[in-house]
């Protein structure tokens, strides 16, 4: 049998890249210098509910740059790319202002990227590609979302009547919750399984929180004047330093989640309890060419290998990771079992379960510190959040994958090595 496989391999010629080649250190590698995030707070309720998105990004950036070696000159950053979904024009103006205010000089160019929930993973890919082809040596990939500020009826896209007549095009307007109901119906995923998956997310996050595992990746953010109710004139604004995620709750079980009503469809299976939370947060990943990082004396925590985005039917957009991850792994000659940790965004329990089963991943390797159901899903910041988390989950030499589904029908996945 082995002889047959050998001849098959000779004919199909898979790339004979080994794990060692993936983890080897070459001077032109794209490496991760640092990856951090803000605490993620609940949309409309948490500490960031009245913080404007540009202010949140500015405060995060100040802390982010302070974490770098004191002799690092932010002018060395060759480009900044910000992932955002809900701001008008993805915040191209106000986030540039945030960069300047935080001390990144005007000479460093800037752009925004909106690929829905994968926006900040796409910025990581954007910066890494620019480093790979030699346009820049050091680059900053950011992600920011204030769902408190922008999420709501106004966030629904306005698809023109002409396009609505096109059967395929109209599917882009399907609400995300319904796409998960479609997956649950098509692949018969039960409410119980989805609640169980969601409860495990809460339990993992609660445990990680108790052990203080998020401390390393979170940069505490100080807000000058927090008021629980901004309209209450009697309440005194107070200075608050936020250092903990607002999403995780203790003692969540599948039974307690089972009591919640379906949110999108009568007798549906998708509820507020087994979907990702509406959240506010920001994330950032500083990338550089290895030789430059060594020259500048920057620490190296990991290595970026590759990124893949694929298209899937819009009406079941949640299957995205199930297609993106295999493509990413095949392209790089990596087996599912070679990967130590998968950070797969839990937009909804149903789509996450389907994707994990499709790829054939061991559940113990998925989101070991909980996912978006427990931690929250600040759309444009999630990709960078996953990178910040996985860099702390992996041990030196281990391979990790981050992935998510993308509204309007896509999936993205990226491959990293911890150093």
């Amino acid at each position: 049998m082995e002889r047959l496989n050998q001849i098959k391999d000779q004919i199909t010629a898979p790339f004979a890249q080994s794990q060692e080649t993936l983890t080897s250190k070459k001077s032109d590698d794209v490496v991760i210098i640092s990856a951090y995030r803000t605490p993620i707070t609940k949309g409309g309720k948490g500490y960031f509910k009245d913080v404007k998105s540009d202010e949140l990004l500015y405060r995060f950036l100040v802390e982010f740059l302070a974490k770098l070696p004191s002799d690092f000159n932010p002018g060395k950053i060759g480009d900044v790319s910000v992932g955002n979904v809900l701001n008008k024009g993805a915040g191209a103006t106000e986030f540039r202002a945030a960069c300047l205010a935080a001390g990144i000089p005007y000479s460093t160019p800037f752009s925004v990227i909106n690929r829905q929930c994968s926006s900040s993973l796409t910025t990581v890919n954007d910066i890494a590609n620019k480093i790979k082809v030699g346009q820049i040596e050091v680059g900053l990939a950011l992600g920011i979302e204030s769902m408190s500020q922008f999420y709501g009826p106004g966030a629904i896209a306005d698809i023109s009547d002409v396009l609505k007549k096109d059967k395929e095009a109209a599917k882009c307007g399907i609400p995300m919750g319904i796409t998960n109901e479609n997956i649950a119906a098509k692949y018969t995923l039960s409410r119980e399984d989805q609640d169980k998956f969601a409860a495990e997310s809460y339990q993992k996050a609660e445990k990680a929180l108790k052990q203080g595992l998020f401390k390393e990746e979170i940069l505490p953010i100080t807000i000058d004047s927090y008021k629980e109710d901004p309209d209450d004139e009697d309440e005194k604004p107070q200075k608050v330093t936020v250092d903990t995620d607002g999403g995780p709750r203790a003692n969540v079980t599948a039974q307690s989640l089972g009591k919640i009503r379906a949110a999108f469809k009568k007798d549906g299976t998708t509820t507020a309890g087994n979907s990702s939370q509406v959240s506010d947060g920001a994330s950032g990943v500083l990338l550089a060419k290895r030789s430059t990082a060594e020259k500048l004396g920057l620490p190296i925590i990991g290595k970026y290998i590759d990124f893949v985005a694929v298209g899937v039917p819009p009406e079941i957009m949640g299957v995205g990771p199930g297609y993106a991850i295999p493509e990413l792994l095949t392209k790089n000659g990596v087996n599912v079992s070679d990967v130590a940790v998968f950070e797969i965004n839990e937009a909804f329990a149903g789509q996450a379960i389907w994707s994990i089963n499709k790829v054939g991943i061991d559940y113990n390797k998925v989101n070991p510190r909980g996912g978006a159901i427990a931690l929250g899903h600040p759309l444009g910041a999630t990709g960078g959040r996953q990178v910040a988390t996985i860099m702390r989950e992996l041990k030196t030499g281990e391979i990790g994958v981050t992935s998510m589904c993308i509204g309007t029908g896509m999936g993205a996945a990226a491959l990293f090595v911890k150093e």
Partner: protein, 344 residues
């Protein structure tokens, strides 16, 4: 064109005798070498143009390669699927080997006799080692060279060849994508190592018979690359800062095969001609323009095709005898062909 059918057995390699101008050695396996017996044919080309079978030796496992002794006209060795190397004497009327070595842990894929120091031959195996042997030493190998790279799933050493210009130099190619050049005079025999085909498995290699520093490699990436070993620098240095970013640049690249290149061999008569055998069911004869030191190097590579085989072409060699250009090939279609490559 002459032909012979290795009925029931699929050919894996063919070699011309260095002593008789009409004798061929063909190794073969039943069931495409996947499972079952092997058979080693000794064939004679008759003056009438027929190819006849002198003798055939049956073995317990498939045979993947064979070689003539360069020092004794009757001795032949074969590479066995069970990890053994067997030596037969075609002058002795016995179906059994006269000598047998069993050290390799897995299938032996190649045996190659040293053309300079004719007392030695080498073998390569799926166990990732290259071993050097001598018939004067029946009890064990003389030396074991390791080509295993930790972390790789497949470290099969597909082929090794002795340098025809230097008795102490040899190279091997491996499924892990590396070409390894050894100099046995050195304390650390591995003197050069590089990724030949950007990480793709390399199945075959040969030293140019006229240009001492020139080699050719054939890979599952369908290409044949021609290298000047002097132009491959710093390839053993694995430090991250040496700027070594994978595959070095070959002198020439021969593209045309539609599937993996299984076997290549340089012409014994011309510095710029080589024969290749491929899974695309063709054998091709190439003119490598880098051999000429004149304006003709700006010509394109020329390629002629032998397409009689109806299955994978697994082995082939140029005849040392007669008019230059005669070749023999064997393949999975159970056919052995002898043809004049100049008339293709």
């Amino acid at each position: 064109m002459l032909q012979f059918r290795t009925k029931g057995y699929q050919g894996t390699a063919l070699h011309y005798s260095p002593f008789y101008d009409n004798k061929l050695l063909v190794s073969s396996s039943a069931n495409y070498g996947l499972v079952g017996n092997g058979r080693l044919y000794v064939l004679s080309i008759q003056p009438t143009g027929e190819i006849s079978q002198d003798i055939a030796y049956d073995t317990q496992d498939g045979l993947f390669d064979c070689a003539w002794s360069e020092i004794h006209e009757n001795q032949v060795v074969c590479a066995n699927g069970d990890g053994s190397i067997k030596m037969f004497d075609i002058g002795v009327k016995s179906p059994f080997p006269i000598m047998q070595w069993k050290e390799h842990q897995r299938e032996v894929y190649c045996v190659n006799w040293n053309l300079v120091d004719k007392s030695q031959f080498l073998s390569t195996s799926w166990d990732g080692t290259v071993k050097i042997w001598s018939p004067q030493r029946p009890q064990s190998s003389l030396l074991t060279l390791n080509t295993i790279k930790p972390g790789f799933k497949n470290n099969c050493a597909y082929q090794g060849t002795w340098n025809p210009h230097n008795k102490d130099m040899l190279m091997s190619v491996n499924a892990n994508g590396f070409v390894s050049v050894f100099d046995l005079r050195m304390g650390q025999p591995l003197v050069q190592e590089f990724l030949g085909h950007a990480g793709f498995e390399i199945l075959t290699c040969d030293w140019n018979k006229y240009r001492p520093n020139v080699i050719a490699t054939g890979s599952v990436d369908k290409s044949i690359k021609i290298w000047d070993l002097r132009m491959i620098q710093g390839s053993i240095d694995n430090s991250p800062m040496n700027g070594n970013t994978g595959s070095p640049i070959p002198m020439n690249q021969l593209l045309g095969h539609e599937f993996a290149v299984k076997k290549i061999t340089w012409s014994p008569h011309s510095a710029g001609e080589l024969l290749s055998c491929s899974y695309d069911m063709s054998a091709r004869v190439w003119q490598d323009y880098t051999a000429d030191n004149n304006m003709s190097r700006f010509r394109k590579n020329q390629c002629k095709m032998f397409n009689r085989h109806t299955e994978f072409v697994a082995g082939g060699e140029y005849s040392l005898w007669g008019q230059p250009g005669w070749c023999g090939t064997v393949g999975w279609d159970e056919m052995c062909y002898v043809f004049d490559s100049r008339r293709l």
